[in-house]
């Protein structure tokens, strides 16, 4: 494995970690630090593309 490939794998792993799916609990955790914000109900017809 060339150093360049190794670097790429490292970035790939890092990106996967930063971009992995966030569970609801993890999100709740974030908002423990920031009280006073409530979840906004998405519009009924909202479907992410």
């Amino acid at each position: 494995v060339t150093p360049e490939q190794e670097q790429r794998l490292k970035w790939e792993r890092e990106l996967e970690e930063r971009n992995r799916f966030q569970t609801d609990e993890e999100i709740e955790e974030i908002f423990k630090l920031v009280p006073g914000f409530k979840v906004l109900e998405p519009p009924t017809n909202y479907q992410p593309d």
Partner: protein, 93 residues
């Protein structure tokens, strides 16, 4: 899909980029449709939280599913004019 992966690896993300955007200076009367419309343009939204108490009004957190969408949204929306108010958009850590 491969080129998207290459793009992502070539443009490595700085550590301060996160999926959670903190937004200030929002008009108070924006509806859910309007908020999802403004922020949803840049990618699927995982969740939006809005300030409940009076000192948090006009403030919100927008969580994207994908970190590149969040970066895209911030770059387009920071300083964006909504009903005469200029949005302040920051990464939340």
């Amino acid at each position: 899909m491969a080129d998207a992966a290459n793009f992502r690896l070539r443009n490595r993300l700085s550590p301060d980029v996160t999926r959670v955007l903190y937004v200030r200076n929002l008009p108070f009367k924006l509806s859910s449709e309007e908020l999802y419309d403004i922020f949803g343009k840049y990618g699927p939204i995982r969740q939006i939280r809005v300030g409940a108490a009076n000192e948090n009004r006009g403030k919100a957190f927008v969580i994207y599913e994908d970190i590149y969408d969040a970066k895209d949204a911030l770059e387009h929306l920071n300083g964006f004019n909504v009903c005469g108010r200029y949005l302040v958009v920051l990464y939340f850590h």
